[in-house]
Symmetry: C2
């Protein structure tokens, strides 16, 4: 059964990204106060206001939809349709003035992410894609590239600190076999994978709001995103994620991670 | 004696960045072929053409000036005035479609970098600064920020792989004491330091074309850039570099690096 993502869903998703982007642009490079959350990750008024604006728009347009948001928690998370929000993925980049952060907006249907937006409001780049909705960047179709051999793969991760213990060993095993390993691109790395310029993104300790939107975009661009063991991500949280543009690279990377 | 950076020098520097930017924009996200240089770092036709265009403009406008370029080597490196060029600093970012790379153009007078440009041709950001030429971003003045205490410092480095042996130990000693450590910003991290959003950049194995332009911009923005032991960089190469917006953070970081 195909998932009924409608033109209304897509239009609402764009409006949510428009609203968050306007707020984030206002605060970018303005020395906003930075608070430490309980998990020691930083948050600013821009994160909070952007998610607030998105939630208000959802409440007005689709009051029966659920919401899972990074900053303001969950409401009706068991609804048929649930929006999964990260107003600023890459707050560390945002607070240092580096436009590789993004606003992540996903729409999940019965526990599966079926529509995603990665919005970079400073460079003015918006990736969107989902079930029945081919991936695009600012309206121009994007597609993953072929990468049959790990030895040719360009891999990104946000930061080495996200890998601990045996996860770190697995990450080292994988990255020893790729062409290039780079850090620091936040959600932008997944968007570049959807556009065919990155082959693998491998990360740990991701929350549902970190992976739901990028998964939908990458799958709509022809790629694959799973947990490290190949399991479907669904709306799981605290998960290690492996994204690939080419299924052959994905299979080889899973094998390297498993050791 | 003040160094006679003239309006003509500044105008020529802008023309060089205009020319390289036009070439780089043409190749950005176009799947250019990537060659491995003898040091295993990647290079593309965009790197080579951009530096060629810059060199041709210098040869026409200032034939007595020397040139030290990453891709096409040195000419008259003992001249009174020497241009130091890195057409694409951050080629790994460039080839993966991530606009944190930059074109670095420095003018050195008698072995000292006195004018620098950091140009990001995709986001359209150009930092310039030098002796007697206050730092600016697209014409708007920029300034480093105060950071008296290492514990509040946001630190960037390009990649962990640049630190080996005792340098890695020193880097770990320093970064254990800062608020936040991030990778992957290339020369953009130095520009963000000049703009007052980053407090420290700490790197190793930098060539003269990696540090000459960013040093001039940061010093013109009120910051300080030296070798790890505090020595003036001059036109040294294969050097470990410490940049700071605040002299107090610089002194404390030097101490942490020394152990």
């Amino acid at each position: 059964m195909s998932t009924p993502v409608t033109a209304d869903h897509v239009a609402l998703a764009h409006r949510l990204a428009d609203a968050s982007g306007a707020i984030i642009r206002r605060y970018f490079r303005t020395h906003v106060a930075v608070d430490d959350k309980s998990d020691a990750s930083p948050v600013t008024i821009a994160d909070r206001e952007a998610e607030r604006a998105i939630r208000d728009l959802i409440a007005a347009a689709a009051p029966d939809h659920g919401i899972i948001g990074e900053e303001w928690g969950s409401e009706r998370a068991d609804a048929e349709w649930v929006w999964v929000l990260d107003p600023i993925d890459g707050t560390k980049s945002f607070i240092t003035g580096k436009p590789s952060f993004g606003t992540l907006i996903a729409l999940a249907h019965r526990g599966r992410s079926v529509l995603g937006i990665v919005d970079q409001p400073i460079t003015g780049e918006r990736w969107i894609g989902g079930v029945g909705h081919p991936a695009s960047l600012n309206g121009t179709p994007v597609r993953v590239r072929a990468c049959p051999d790990l030895r040719d793969a360009y891999l990104y991760a946000t930061e080495p600190e996200m890998f601990k213990g045996s996860d770190q060993d697995a990450f080292e095993r994988l990255t020893a076999r790729v062409k290039m390993r780079r850090y620091g691109a936040d959600c932008y790395a997944y968007a570049l994978l959807a556009s065919g310029f990155v082959d693998l993104v491998c990360e740990c300790n991701l929350k549902v709001h970190d992976h739901a939107a990028v998964s939908a975009v990458i799958e709509a661009a022809g790629g694959v995103v799973t947990a490290w063991d190949g399991a479907a991500l669904g709306l799981s949280t605290n998960v290690c994620v492996l994204a690939a543009g080419d299924r052959r690279a994905h299979a080889a990377a899973m094998k390297a991670l498993a050791g």
